[in-house]
Amino acid sequence: MAGLELLSDQGYRLDGRKASELRKVQARMGVFAQADGSAYLEQGNTKALAVVYGPHEIRGSRSRALHDRAVINCQYSMATFSTAERKRRPHGDRKSTEMSLHLKQTFEAAVMTQLYPRSQIDIYVKILQSDGGNYSVCVNAATLAVIDAGIPMRDYVCACTVGFVDETPLADLCYAEESGGVSSLALALLPRGGQIALLQMDARLHQDHLETLIEAAMTACKGVSKVLDEVVRQHLQEVSVLTGE
């Protein structure tokens, strides 16, 4: 029978949001003491945990070291219980390798790696529950973790997944929308300068639509950055209270 109606005539999406509204974002920084930096972030029902180690000396083969900047090492994984169907996900399957690579590229663009030549920064991200926009949620969680680790960045990297339905761009897609035949685009942005750190799209889209879609994605990313900023400020306040300053 008729598939899902992704956007009603009244302008509401499946879950009751309007086209440009983000899902609820909640986050917490500094959730693990052992790590140099860590953060837990929820975007709707997609939940991710990010942990950062470093900068530290290059582990393993020294030949990987770069003389002028730090190496960023990313690892992405999904918990077995993260999707509706419980599935064992071996490390290093094609999807997570690709995702790890995308994360690496994103953070290489944002972290000021030149401050730490011949060293390494590790970013581990795990999806605990998946409901669409996995890449974006990982980027947002990792940003907070990197900040928590005290590693300087040019700007927050904020990411958001957007899609196109009935000539209308939808911000921050949930899984039902992603799987409902929307051609989706993931974009990571350094909001202040408006630089794009990464843009990824697998589906076919007419070039006339691309600009509107990117525009919507950038606006959505700026929305995310506002939330992240609030989280960071609140965390700072808590920490300063704890340390008694």
Binding site: M1, A2, E5, S8, D9, Q10, Y12, L14, D15, G16, R17, S20, E21, L22, R23, K24, V25, Q26, R28, G30, V31, F32, A33, Q34, Y40, E42, G44, N45, K47, A84, E85, L128, D131, A171, C174, A176, R204, L205, H206, D208, H209, T219, A220, K222, G223, V224, K226, V227
Partner: protein, 987 residues
Amino acid sequence: VTAVQQRLLEIRNLMKTSRTSRYVTLSNISEVSFVIMLKSKTFVKKTRSGGVMKIVREHYLRDDIWCGSEACTECKQESTVLQKDTCIESSLCSYPHYLIPDTNVVLHQIDVLEDPVIRNVIVLQTVLQEVRHRSAPIYKRLKDMIHEKEKHFYTFTNEHHRDTFIEREPGESANDRNDRAIRMAAKWYSQHLKTSESNPDGLKVVLLTNDQGNKQKAEESGLLVHKCEEYIKSLIANPELVDRLALSSDDKNEITSNKVLFPEHLPLSKIQAGIKSGSFLQGTFRASRDNYLEATVFVQGEGEDTTEVLIQGLQNLNRAVHQDVVALQLLPQNQWVAPSSVVLQDEGAAKDDNVEEEEEEKVLRISAAEAARKPTGKIVGIIKRNWRPFCGMLNVSQIKESTRHLFTPADRRIPRIRIETRQASTLAGQRIMVAIDGWPKDSRYPNGHFVRSLGSAGEKETEQEVLLLEHDVPHQAFSQAVLSFLPKMPWAITPEDMVKRQDLRQLTVCSVDPPGCTDIDDALHCRELENGNLEVGVHIADVSHFIRPGNALDKEAANRGTTVYLCGKRIDMVPELLSSNLCSLRSNVDRLAFSCIWEMNHEAEILKTQFTKSVINSKSSMTYAEAQMRIDDTTKNDDITKSLRGLNKLAKILKRQRIQKGALTLSSLEVRFHMDSETHDPIDLQTKELMETNSMVEEFMLLANISVAQKIYDEFSECALLRKHPAPPPSNYDILLKAAKSKEVEIHTDSAKALADSLDVARVDGFPYFNTLLRILATRCMMQAVYFCSGMDSDFHHYGLASPIYTHFTSPIRRYADIIVHRLLAVAIGADGTYPDLMDKHKQSALCNNLNYRHKMAQYAQRASVAFHTQLFFKSRGILNEEGFVLFVRKNAIIVLIPKFGLEGTVFFDPKDKTAPSLVFDEEGPTLKVEEHTFHIFDKVKVTISLDDSNIQHQKIRMALTDPVIPGVSVPVPDTEPQTKKPRLDR
């Protein structure tokens, strides 16, 4: 360690709290934040592998969803839909009120809701979603009403409203939950409207439901609630609306007897299991036009093949209606039957529900030859009904006081429908529309209700409306929204228009069309070049310049798909300003065109092809006859005539080449009516005559279409819109082969070329018309040509034209396919930009489906219009005696073609009022022996032609045999000679 534990605990709490509801702030990029509540909706779903999957979905609740009422001062809405003063007068509800129908009321009483009287209705999201899930056509009608401003239908998104969302309780069924959600929303509205200060008039909401339980619960919670019937009957000013009420299940028992006539339909779950296990088959039910006790189900097999399963007899047909999707069970092979070649119509008074079916069906029991038997089955259940409102007429019941009457649809494939109406005497003699409500197993006929009247039967306007409706031809006047995209007059070519356009105004371009043609979409030119070669140009109206993708004008044209030509009437695809003026390539005005220009040598070989947007100025618009006269007139030697002669010479070569490649020239007799200019009644009728110039224009159109098809396919292999004509399956030729064999002529059907060649040499001495008849038969064996998207298909071949690729480019004024092809070609040559839908093969494929459907329906509508005018013509002529040929032989009839009128009719040999003569039918011939005379295909006969208007709805041409003379069967030759002078119809 404790710190880590502390943090883990925090995480756990964080994850837990988000699952239970609480208020959060939705970060909104437009910097407006609404307090919303978040819910998780959890439900389980079966996976394909049979496992169970838990699905968790977020559900946001908002407090920025407004009530939509003009009377409200509380909501911060920008615009309102529901009026402050509702003007409906009801004896049940004497106060101003809004209506809230529940899902079943919308599903069953949509005809009532559509009445202009019903306004100010609140459509709940719950209802909208349920309707969407259960019936696509009704969902569409509901949406149309919501869009219509005058209806004041407001959609309230209650499922996302903070105060009206409810969760399903343990043990509660989905239906009960939805009913509760509807009551909840109604409750909210009644309180919300009450608290509005500016609402002293006591604006109320009234819930409409037919469900007793729901009604009771609503009453208990203090809501105003009525049954739909009660409410409609209480409307003071509109008593006739009651007729449009669908019969609810309570009423059905009164109407029918207790005897169960039909087997029970199986529930959907059993049907699905049966289809899965292979014991049932699923297919589309096609009722027979000629025999109401027979139908065929087309079962879709793997890929393209379909199997046909025969269904015979009322019990086996089991209440399936034409076009329904059904589940059937095959009968054991020893019960298979052959299609009965009998013509049977369900006529006369309503048959008693108790009548013994054997009586009705005994005619079918003619033992058929073993070989002719076909897979036969019985309907076990209905998967999807495809009911629509049907046009037809009322058979007023003989019992004077009765309010129940039988309705006979104009479409013979639809069964008669029983309806209840108090206006039978008014409706008798009118064409009306009726919708089916249901078909209980104890009722001989389906039950339905009156929808609207179309006017008096037999009136030309009424009949035209009927045939447009029956063939689903969109024919309303163009809306303001559509017209707003027309160019502003006075229109002139601007310098911007000339960018990327060649100025060809100096060329001697001319157009050749049928007389009276005002939508000229093609023009031609031909001139000798300095190098001795010929330059030939086909110039097509540049419609895509005026119709831009995606606007209301474009959408309307895409939906209409084609201009429909009826006798004396044209239903345009695009507004007249374009079709008859700005796009029409009339003579001596500057017009924008899309040109295809070839350089050819004198052997008609193409040396160079060029496509360009252009401006032309046609030097002359001629009819075929005028052009022919110029070519033949040796004294003429002007540019236009030279151009025509050049074209004509090349066209002949092209045609010869095409035929050598195996293109078919088939025959169908088309008739033209000469219309009286005042009354628009047909006063004369002639078969269309083809001249050399017809085929001259046609030849270049074919050539342009092929050139363009190749070009757009080269450029866009995935999304070129093309046209193909599949080769018919060999079995289609059976009747042609049999017919030819009876005259000892052999026809080869291995390829189009073989067929064309053998048709060319098929001659019978002393029977000059034989070849034409054979070609008419061959036409009937052919498949439909269809549009398709190149990315979705691999077989492009056009069988009839013997071309490996083909499309439509030359008639953009009257075919939407051509507009798409123009756009593709424009992109290919860099004259215009692309847009998303043009490059989307799925969207284009969906468009092709619509175009194919519209073309088929337009063709049927055209035939129906010709048939109606033929009847009008013969009405004024009395009884004629004409010569004709037997085209087909049936079990109880022969089908005769009268070449003079291009008219086909049936001579029945088993009249109802007389005892039937002895009839022996031989399938092999096929032949029919009537008493001592045997009829074969191609036999020359003489028949009387007259109009039989005993059944006003199905007025038909009646034919009766005069020659050969068969005692007791043939009729005497009428003594009145056909009138010689033109009669005038007295009106």
